[in-house]
Symmetry: D2
Subunit: 378 residues, 4 copies
């Protein structure tokens, strides 16, 4: 299905009991020779065999370390080749290597490209090669089955950002609700103007966060610093500024009043208020202040969060462990969920706690946001 | 199979084409009522339904925030309950919540425990509840399917260590070959005496590493420091000691000569030489020295590594990204492979590069080794 | 000096022995009242006192949770206030709090803003406040002094990128040599076209790396994938492509021949060869292939690396632990060194091994490069 | 002072203004020749010179790659040697290398050990060598000064654990108050029985945490699982167990009642209640339940936390970002603070937010606790 091919099951025999063999026979239909070759390669790598097993094909190597273009590239699973009407197990199995045949001795073995010599008979194409995947254990699950892996920072982020931007554009156009969950690292890493712009562009239908995001956003708007660090000139300016920001809000009575009286003129919360986008700030044990909008009772904060996410279609989590996991617990699995964090552990934690639909993007929110917004603007 | 139950497939109909429905009918057989209940709970959570759908059962809550013991606990997938012979979709679906019924209105919805009130009709047991898992996309794979997650540091390490120790004991007793791959963090974190003891106890059949492991092991044995840090008194002592260690080996001619002339009396390499355990040290661009045993040509080092791992049964990778990934590439998937690293990224990288059989243990090698050795001693 | 103020030492008495007190008297000169206030605030926070100690000043709070604008904000160090000609120690010391005075009881204590009440006498300004920093231990260094911290992902990356771009422009204009060290994650994260553009723009005078960077760059140029992953459509396409790329280079004889025969038309190595920028590829135990340009002997690779860095003025390390640490060992401390990695551990490791001049930027190389190149273009 | 030596300042001239030179003359007194040599080596590495500069000394190398035992080992800072009454700058400066002299040409340069040849004149001892550290910038602070690094996982953890155990023993014996801050990873990683034992042994005077620690501790005591994972048999058992644990507490009315009615018989909270150790559980937006002891109002939770830490002498933070940073904000800098986390980012964050006295131990809490408790028992 990933390859947009058609298929038909001709047989599907599942062994009745635990030790009975299973088998299937599938017809694959492609729209081009090339697509068919791709399909065949993939199913053979999964362990399939073709209806009539053809002899494995080889070419003779023309020079040391030079493979024919159609060389076969191994997996790390047990492999056999069909040679002189017999399945011969490949010796010395390793991944990303090549199979050398000695038909006269009925032997086949792996070699790395560096060891391939002129005259070697090297397997080409996919046919006549059978892969045996490790069997699932029949009894119990040990440490080897309990754990495995996959949050990777090594992904093509700019392409991923393009795809996200395009799905956000679709959704925003169609009345889909986009909820953003954000932590204060958005401000510290210089992301505030970009998230503010996303709000202005209409890509945020609700914002869920805590005290610190608001405090540092307002600190930045009023004093040009975040936790006292001047974000443009990159130096520590005044560590008391975040308390001064809190004091300004407390004196005005609310963030909204600070906007209304003309003191708060830019930033995330300015845009939220100007565009009537609802937000919920949940209190936590580590808050300074907090500012009046913060919901200090955790049960009440949960209730208000739930109200915002219950009809969400898209949730974007930006650099916030606490609020992301809280929101993850409230989401049905149908909601598209993206979690952007420089720390792979946050994504792992989300998934450990059951929000398995979350797509983790291990990147820097401070560089992610400008690139995303630049796509959204276009 | 994980539950060691028996089963029999009575039917298994796979839809012929891409849009045809599939279905199966399975008989489950357990050895106790309790085991059967567990099986039923699990298959229902996977989306199964029972042969005759029973009405969903509920109990009336006796006090605010008090659930009956047999409460049903939700997933985050779309769910329906069978009420008055009809499937009713549960509203406001979230995970780890509870389903409240209003049979008179034919409604069902989720509530968190904190919102459960005296008099609420809360679903109990597993029956009459149907879960609908998200469908796999029929066409193409987007960013949401390309990525997902699971290397977690939040695992019960001491139990895992016990299981590893027990499988090492089995293997060591039966002629299975254990290969250890190790990086210099083993020394810096204080693990040297423990790895040395593992060798002495017979749990290491070959060691694969690079220059730094040997240099710092010998530095520790000769001068009591690792990269100049005194490991017992935890202070920087003399940053030139690792070069002095290299100098001693160069003067003696080899590590073996340093053991033979009585200067090297303890540590990992002392034990390797004393117990005739083969080792291969691969050269790298960041080596100081290197000492004579280091294989400076990368092709030759690969060849020697491959010779050691080709008949390995068990590979333990300790805090070494470079050598672990190199060895991962050489291993058939049948080899039990354990990768211990404090950095989840190393395990992710192994898996990204195809060594998917590797079990990643995200823990500190400096605390892992003493706990493992204490199990092996027993 | 950070504040660009002038100063003059009038006295500087260092206690002769270990237990004798030291003192200094410094005159600070500023160009504005505001600058002077900043200077005074900073030196008072460091523990200085003013020549004549003024009484601490306070204002009476006008409403609950409302501070006067000039409120004093505490540190977590022991603090005293000068009240009625006496130094009074502040009780209940905590950071980011406020000092409430009870002159009638000669008491002073900390309160968080949330606990500040109408009528409280809260300290304002910096004068009359004395901070006592913890003393350095007189004997020995325990675990508490051996370790401390500071690689942070929470920095304003876009501003940092601007400053780097501007210093690169200065340097490139003035004949300064810029050496780039890069790992294959540059390719996997989609950074290849941007690093290629940096080379084209003249910002790279030498490139140091290993086999994998070249292999995946060429794989991307020839087949549109990196380790088999299509970077634009973000899907796994063909895991054998990197071996096919190696095979193409081996057949052509070298990367240069592949450019000369018109097959390699874009990417990092195409630009290096087109612009005659030297590069060194060091072999390693985990190489597939390797391609002919790779220096397989680690000693020889070190020698060639050293030749490139010996007159470097600027080194940029991109997502490569192995090569970055190797290069770090070769650099005099005067060379500006930037290490970009999503993993803070890499920067820590560089510093642990003595390259303390390295500036670590904990961000995603795949988003860092497009943003940097966009600044360099301008 | 670190070396427990005596010293006397004979002169200490600080340049009056920004561009004036400063100098000092210090007499060092040691109790042994060896101690004196160590002191001299260290101060020379810091840039000191001896009263009468002696000629640099060298020895002629006896064989390729063989250094004299007393070889000088370089730093990466600009270095000069005193040769024929002249200071000669060392060429090609790199760290951990050796200085070769050519007195006839008045040249000196660095070589790695691998390049040292028979007949080379290599510097020995520390005398006649002068190191010039980079100067602090006179104006402003750029990106290169704003950031630097040092949280390392590569530390000798078992020795650190011994030192912590010994300081805890001292403190516990002398009425010092020990406060533990803990996150639920303590339970998931198998640490619960060890923390419970620490309480029983009298090493915990107060515990600060949130809902999850209590829920999973009680889940483990009642059902043998943590978040549904059986910690001994390492398999997923029942994901609803943590809700069942909450339900048991809600039905009993409090954790204390669950202990009193004999249902809760082991674990951390059992020991806290049995030993009358106070605890505060702060509510958060991500709580399931919560159980009755949880303080749902964040302001009130802060107040109760502050009450516990205000007279603390020692704070141990175990795997909890949220609560650790909250507590860090409440601590005066004199309080010994240890933060144990597998994620270096947590320690960095603590320090970024001003708790600079915190000692970060980057290790696995699940292996740290058994090793610590085994030391405390003895």
């Amino acid at each position: 299905m990933d390859h947009q091919a058609e298929f038909e099951f001709h047989e599907f025999n599942v062994g009745k009991g635990k030790h009975d063999p299973s088998s299937t026979r599938i017809e694959l239909m492609a729209q081009s020779r090339e697509q068919l070759d791709t399909l065949i390669r993939e199913v053979l790598r999964l362990g399939a065999t073709l209806p009539e097993t053809p002899e494995v094909r080889y070419e003779t190597v023309e020079g040391d370390m030079m493979l024919p273009d159609d060389f076969y590239c191994t997996t790390n699973h047990e492999t056999a080749v069909y040679m002189n009407d017999t399945w011969v197990t490949v010796e010395n199995q390793m991944m990303d290597k090549h199979i050398i045949l000695e038909p006269e001795n009925m032997r086949a073995y792996c070699k790395p490209i560096a060891a391939v010599k002129k005259g070697d008979k090297v397997v080409v194409g996919q046919r006549g090669v059978k892969i045996k995947h490790p069997e699932r254990p029949r009894e119990g699950v040990g440490v080897f089955e309990f754990m495995n892996s996959d949050v990777s920072p090594e992904k093509p982020v700019t392409s991923i950002i393009k795809e996200i931007a395009s799905s956000l554009k679709d959704r925003a156009g169609n009345g889909g609700k986009i909820v953003v969950v954000a932590g204060p690292a958005v401000i510290h890493t210089g992301g505030a103007p970009y998230l503010a712009e996303m709000i202005e562009l209409g890509y945020v239908d609700a914002l869920l966060s805590g005290n610190a995001l608001a405090v540092h956003d307002i600190e930045l708007a009023l004093f040009g610093t975040s936790l006292g660090v001047n974000l443009e000139r990159i130096k520590i300016q005044n560590p008391r500024n975040h308390i001064a920001a809190i004091n300004q809000v407390l004196k005005a009575g609310s963030i909204k009043s600070l906007v209304d009286n003309g003191k708060l003129k830019k930033g995330i919360f300015y845009q939220l208020i100007k565009n009537n986008v609802p937000f919920v700030l949940a209190g936590s044990i580590r808050d300074d202040g907090p500012i009046p909008e913060v919901i200090k009772c955790s049960n009440e904060a949960q209730r208000l969060y739930r109200e915002q996410v219950k009809d969400a279609d898209y949730v974007i989590m930006l650099a916030s462990t606490l609020h992301s996991i809280a929101v993850g617990n409230m989401l049905p699995s149908r909601v598209k969920t993206i979690c952007v964090d420089i720390n792979p552990a946050v994504v792992t934690k989300l998934s450990d706690r059951g929000t398995s639909q979350a797509v983790g993007i291990v990147t820097d929110v401070g560089t992610f946001l400008p690139l995303l917004v630049s796509e959204l603007r276009g």
